[in-house]
């Protein structure tokens, strides 16, 4: 599968160093005879995933990313997870901490179960239970849980629990002890419950939960071993899992805080504690938030915006400028047509956008169809090469005969979806108006060709919304296709079947609101709105449905400059939410009302001030803002290309 590379060696050095320090309780020393301290020569890596991360605390800076591997040696399969070296800037994360979490060659013969979580919101993750001990959740930032499980299935006996489709039993699933696992509350479901159900009597005492000494953990493990021998296996496993979690509540609590449909978490960052009385009130009442009896103050007091929003945007957000015109545009080009200073150009476009008749030319650069350092001649060449390449891909579906189509369900399905969508996309624009409109046909052809170009991703509702403005500006089928391809390089993960791309953006959004408007964050928390699902449409299609056409074009070219952040769209979400925060909180909107309210903002949003405020928020948030956004969050280019689209089929297992 993947070759061992240089990075791997550094991992292994880490690994060797860690082994010397003595094994932590997380290490299964009994497997040592089956491995050397380095990956043995005869071992084969059958699965490798980067950016698999644990969240020891709720602080983004303390997350530990690493590389997950499945290693096959002889007939045995091992799992390893090794943190990256020196990746964290945080001094609180000592080497010992990392060592503690490291999973070294865990043999599958020790593993009891793997629970898969593909939550609606948040990253997908797995919890591995071995000898009654649950490892901290492993978050797959770049997807790949399905592939992980599929690979395991190729090498060891693994079955899906009949009672729970997300629970996979490994090895001795015939063993009655193992079988009862499926009917038990495993850590996965526990982590989703309220902390009070995690069952530690000392739950309220945070200090206890922070102690993660090696010794303590080891004693837990021994404890577990003893308990395994006692009589009622079912009860027993649930007990040890509970105890495990009460002692490692640091994991559990903070895992819980990542699952933000969960309302009851101790997510008070140091900044929040300083803030308004609302926040401190919440701090006291947090134990009862999940009770339905949470007391709502009679007279609704809307906590003020901690940032004094208006002033902030005056200080930080620059006034919008007039759009870039032809003359100024020429000044960015050298005699052969190269763009001398792309950054200056992007900055200019960020503040003013582009005049309409220049868009066709400028967008090709912003979208990456042309490179900034290409010459006029090179671009002419690119156009002709790309045109024939487009035609080649298009022929792939055009040559499908009706007879062939009868036997090609996927093709018929996709074509059906596209047929249905193109006739209801922007038909009120004169460009797409009327029966038998040629541009609607172009849109159809581009989308169908794209679904062959990127067969794994296929067609998904929302794509026609992304294509429509591009075709409207480019007015050329092949060029529009390639620009659309470039756009989807970044936004394609929005359409992942497991919704991982959307999850990570909504997750980042919640973290940013927490940072930039903690009273609003607390309000969402108390009203079960932390999934931010009301922003789904905004993000999925880049506000396409929220603005009239001309404004959408302006917004998009501004976003595509990636100045001052490639995640400016998230700050735009916050800017819009902040403009309505007093209404949202004052009227005590619940999730339903909020979603309706947000949907109805369509056509009511004033773009220029929002852009200015978004810039201000972005500048103000600075590094803390950037740290709230996990690596690889769209539209960032994925860290690893191959991980961009995981298989879209559902039936691997």
């Amino acid at each position: 599968m993947h070759e061992t590379d240089i990075h791997d060696l550094s991992d292994d050095a880490d690994y060797a160093a860690a082994s010397k320090q003595g094994s932590s309780s997380m290490t299964r020393t009994d497997s040592s005879k089956q491995r050397s301290s380095n990956d043995p020569k005869d071992a084969e890596i059958v699965y490798l995933k980067d950016n698999v991360t644990i969240h020891p605390t709720q602080y983004a800076a303390e997350r530990i990313s690493g590389r997950l591997k499945l290693v096959k040696q002889g007939s045995s399969l091992f799992m390893t997870w090794i943190p990256y070296k020196g990746q964290s800037s945080n001094t609180r994360l000592s080497a010992r901490d990392k060592n503690l979490y490291t999973i070294r060659a865990l043999p599958f013969s020790d593993i009891q179960s793997i629970r898969r979580h593909t939550p609606t919101i948040g990253w997908q993750y797995v919890i591995v239970v071995s000898s009654g001990l649950a490892f901290p959740p492993l978050y797959f930032y770049s997807g790949g849980v399905r592939e992980f499980l599929a690979t395991i299935k190729q090498h060891v006996l693994i079955v899906r629990s009949s009672e729970d489709a997300n629970l996979f039993l490994v090895n001795n699933f015939q063993d009655p002890l193992q079988r009862t696992l499926s009917s038990l509350e495993l850590p996965g479901s526990l982590a989703n419950r309220t902390p009070s159900s995690l069952g530690s009597p000392s739950d309220g005492n945070l200090e206890n939960n922070h102690i993660l000494e090696d010794g303590q953990l080891r004693s837990v493990q021994q404890n577990n071993k003893q308990r395994q021998k006692s009589h009622d296996p079912a009860r027993d496993i649930s007990i040890q899992v509970l105890e495990k979690f009460s002692l490692v509540t640091r994991f559990a609590r903070e895992t819980t805080s990542q699952l933000f449909r969960e309302s009851l978490v101790d997510g008070h960052g140091p900044t929040e504690k300083r803030r308004t009385n609302w926040a401190s009130k919440d701090h006291q009442s947090q134990e009862m938030v999940s009770n339905d009896v949470e007391i709502v103050p009679k007279r609704v007091h809307v906590p003020s915006d901690p940032l004094e929003f208006d002033k902030l945007s005056l200080v930080w957000g620059q006034p919008r400028q007039h759009p870039l015109g032809l003359q100024e545009w020429s000044s960015f080009l050298d005699s052969e047509g190269r763009i001398v200073d792309p950054d200056a150009l992007k900055k200019r476009i960020f503040y003013g956008g582009v005049e309409h008749n220049l868009r066709k030319e400028v967008w090709t650069f912003l979208l990456g169809y042309y490179s900034y350092d290409s010459t006029y001649a090179e671009r002419e060449y690119v156009v002709s090469v790309k045109r024939s390449e487009y035609e080649t891909i298009k022929t792939q579906w055009q040559s499908i005969s009706p007879e062939q189509a009868k036997r090609f369900t996927k093709f018929r399905e996709r074509k059906g979806l596209i047929d249905k969508d193109v006739v209801r996309t922007d038909r009120s624009l004169s460009f797409y108006e009327g029966d038998d409109n040629a541009n609607v046909r172009h849109m159809h052809d581009i989308l169908l060709t794209y679904s062959f170009y990127n067969f794994d991703l296929g067609y998904c509702q929302g794509m026609s919304d992304l294509l429509s403005p591009i075709l409207f500006i480019l007015k050329d089928e092949s060029e529009a296709f390639w620009c659309f391809v470039s756009l989807l390089e970044r936004l394609g993960p929005n359409f992942n079947r497991d919704q991982s791309g959307m999850h990570s953006q909504l997750f980042a959004l919640s973290k940013l609101v927490e940072l930039l408007d903690s009273p609003l964050h607390n309000y969402f928390k108390q009203n079960d709105c932390l999934n931010y699902f009301f922003c789904f449409r905004w993000i999925l299609i880049q506000f396409k449905r929220e603005f009239e056409n001309e404004k959408t074009l302006r917004l998009w070219e501004v976003l595509w400059t990636h100045y001052p952040s490639e995640h400016l769209h998230l700050y735009i979400c916050i800017a819009i939410l902040k403009r309505h925060r007093s209404k949202i909180m004052g009227e005590q909107m619940d999730f339903d009302t909020l979603l309706k309210f947000i949907n109805e903002l369509s056509g009511q949003i004033d773009l220029d001030p929002v852009l200015r405020e978004a810039e201000a928020l972005c500048v103000y948030a600075g590094e803390n803002g950037a740290a709230s956004i996990p690596p690889g969050t769209p539209p960032s280019l994925p860290i690893q290309d191959s991980s961009m689209y995981h298989q879209q089929d559902d039936e691997v297992l």
Partner: protein, 200 residues
């Protein structure tokens, strides 16, 4: 959940069905009396409310209109959780959409509120010449599964209000105020209370 206050009932209703079957069009017809030839696809979900008078009571429907594409299936439980009623919509000119409707029925039977009132709506009844699913077949299926069935047209408005009226009539008048046990979905435990919008 349907909840009672005096003679007023609040009921959460969800529309499910294949993309392009006409879910949004049905809601738009019911709520605003309009029909758009080029009704745009639903992204995420939309929420509407509309009140109906039935006998001596009023029923306020809180309507969730969902996105139809299979790709967004994983988001559906967020909307049907705690719903008192569902309209499962298919397009009478598409056999596939009927197959999809049956899958929705199965899913609701397995995961949804056991007291949910379910309606099967064969939409686009105005397109008789393109019909692929007979009313008999659909009715038989509905009878077997305890749903009530109507063919509708959002375009001509035929039977649209009737579906909602029939649901309003069938809503149980007394409901437990909490989600019944066993309804809580894995991975989504904290949401039940919110969705039920009850206890008011």
């Amino acid at each position: 959940m349907a909840t009672i206050g005096h003679n007023n009932l609040n009921a959460k209703l969800v529309l499910l069905g294949d993309m392009g079957a006409g879910k949004s069009s049905l809601v738009l017809r019911f709520v605003k009396g309009q029909f758009l030839e080029f009704q745009e696809s639903t992204i995420g979900a939309a929420f509407f409310s509309q009140t109906l008078a039935v006998n001596d009571a009023t029923v306020k429907f809180e309507i969730w209109d969902t996105a139809g594409q299979e790709r967004y299936h994983s988001l559906a439980p967020m909307y049907y959780r705690g719903a008192a009623a569902a309209i499962i919509v298919y397009d009478i000119t598409s056999a596939d959409s009927f197959t999809r409707a049956k899958k929705w029925v199965q899913e609701l039977q397995k995961q949804g509120n056991p007291n949910m009132v379910m309606a099967l709506a064969g939409n686009k009844a105005d397109l008789e010449e393109k019909r692929k699913v007979t009313a008999e077949e659909a009715r038989a299926y509905a009878d077997e599964n305890g749903l009530f069935f109507m063919e509708t047209s959002a375009k001509t408005a035929a039977n649209v209000n009737d579906v909602f009226h029939e649901i309003a009539k069938r809503l149980p008048r007394a409901q437990p105020t909490q989600n019944p046990a066993g309804m809580v979905l894995v991975d989504r435990p904290a949401e039940g209370a919110r969705a039920a919008s009850c206890c008011s």
